[in-house]
Symmetry: none
DNA sequence: AATGAATGAGGATTCATTCAT
DNA sequence: GATGAATGAATCCTCATTCAT
């Protein structure tokens, strides 16, 4: 608030304003002036906290990825059964998406950046996703999860939630709690070893 | 070529040039002047075929969707078994994606447009996807496919291919034919009725 | 004139407008917008002829140097006596300066650019100044001109005219034709071998 | 240093920092923020000592002129012979220039300001240059110096040193002590009455 | 006196679009 | 139909200056 102090929270204010505009207008669809207005600061102020537009976007990207991962892993307990852990993650992810529409829509923007940025983004993400890697590894070892690479398992299991939640937020589809349960089961089927379920019920 | 000729294909030339640039530089990453150069025409010429930049993008979007659908449905035969039809579609989709990198990357750009455009895009797509709807409907009726809405089934089954193929094209993952078979099986598991597989092999 | 033609002379129009503003407001004292207004074109038009502000300035610099050299060497005749040749050059230089106030003032701006630019400027200038080098060389060989390097001779002889003409143009001093003759004689004395004049009249 | 102290010398600190930046980056090539950093003070502090950027530059200009004059007149003794006085001044000027590169380069920046500023600059300078005026006056009266106005004599005699020293500092030319002696003699020839030297040696 | 966060006008540059040829 | 020079609004970003602390 006071102009002489470091204004620790102004950075956050700018971040949220960016997320809002990013979600509404897309990646290049808003100007710094608009952003300044939305954040309630002068245009020049933004450059006190970020070197330029690109850095702002890049740092926002990193933070959003971290937010997603943090939310997904909330309450994660490696002692639980594989499927239970997975369900929890899916549930977390879904609710984070629909409770944070702007972040969800913003994230989508980042999926289509130049390859080199995507690469560094990806490697950053995998660090935080270690528990997921562990889950997959353990699942593969115990024949509960198909013998596919982590990337592929992610694409088949978690990725659809991002797509679905965006559609839900746009009002294109309706997903209630019961439906969500079915979706989670369905996405589990995609990565689970079907042979392992033969003749017996889910091991959960 | 000669200015006196009607140049019926110039529209197509502009389209391909746009796809190329779209894939390489993203949605707002290229200018009309660049596009003109890539297409080998004058900047003004583009405005003879498209009202403005937006219209060009919009029409390109429509065409790309149609191309995807056409490719996916290639050789579609409703007489085959559900799973066979599905496999064929997945296979078609995958190969179209990796054989047309520019179109695949371009398509990704379109997934994140303002809501109203997405809506019209979606309704346009569903028209061409009638065979897919039929497939799903028939699958649900015969208990071979889970009782989920078309949108959700799409998200669980076909959507991951777009994500995966982009990663494959970027060199982030490697998918060979054998892996593809496994992925197709996995995505089938996502939408297939697991009860139907109990105690017997795939009904294909 | 016609928008579709290369507009060969628009470049010249922009050049003269730049010289005018450069003389009046100094190097960084005018904006592209001002320049556009002065030249009677749109701001964007300037960028059709010059990559950016720097290139415009750099090219203008080169042309001005050439203009100065061309004017100074006008009517140069190596067959004449050394002093006669020198007088002619001084006279040419002086009149060019006071007849082209804007160019004279602009030139002054260029004398104070970053070292590396000055270096390339200098080497460019020396190419055109070959006749002056020849004059100095011949003068040194015949003991009519002091045994000093070309650079030093230039500083002592021609350089003062630029300074004086600027003062004259600003109305700070008055130089009529008679005074000019004295100045030329004085500047000649600076570079001429004084021993050579002992006991006899000018060898002109 | 401590905010409670009167910091009488802070003005000087800012001055030197300005000279440094002026020499390196030119007139409009540095910002107040840069200056503050170079001076080791906060940006706002500069405004406690100078009304605005222009005033800072203007006052610096005045001081630099005074420094030049002071250095040039160092050890000046009106009792000495005219030529001796002149030599001393040239020598002083030269050494001041090459020992204070930043000041020399800065000065050059000031020579090309808007006319009205130049005018006031000039009148200020002439006040301190009274000894030079006296020298010239005495020289003219005794027929040792050409009958030209003070301005013209300055241009022919002292001005070249500024130009030469800048070239020397940039490494474009090399001037050692012996060469300097020749240059001083040459510049003396420019303003000295050549007839006065006929048949006798320098009256020094 | 000193600070430095905040401002916002003004700078250079880009680019979709127009239109005379 | 085709051109591409010209436009000028809109962009990002800089920076002199202010002022609460």
């Amino acid at each position: 608030m006071s102009p002489a102090k470091p204004s620790i929270d102004k950075r956050e204010i700018i971040f949220s304003a960016t997320i809002k505009l990013l979600a509404k207008y897309g990646f290049h669809g808003f100007s710094i002036k608009q952003l300044a207005e939305e954040a309630g600061v002068a245009a020049g102020t933004i450059y006190l906290y970020f070197k330029d537009r690109d850095e702002l976007i890049r740092e926002l990207n990193t933070q959003i990825i971290d937010d997603f991962i943090k939310a997904t892993l909330d309450g994660h307990d490696p002692e639980q059964s594989i499927k239970h852990q997975y369900r929890r993650m899916c549930c977390n992810l879904w609710h984070f998406c629909i409770e944070n529409p702007c972040i969800t829509h913003s994230k989508a923007q980042f999926d289509h950046l130049p390859p080199d940025i995507l690469r560094s983004q990806r490697s950053h993400a995998w660090v935080g996703l270690q528990p997921v890697k562990n889950l997959f590894e353990q699942g593969r070892n115990t024949k509960q999860i198909k013998n596919l690479s982590d990337d592929i398992l992610i694409s088949l299991s978690f990725e659809p939630y991002l797509f679905l939640s965006r559609q839900h937020l746009l009002g294109l589809i309706q997903v209630n709690d019961e439906t969500l349960t079915h979706i989670i089961d369905a996405s589990w089927d995609a990565i689970a070893c079907s042979t392992a379920t033969h003749g017996k019920h889910n091991q959960e």
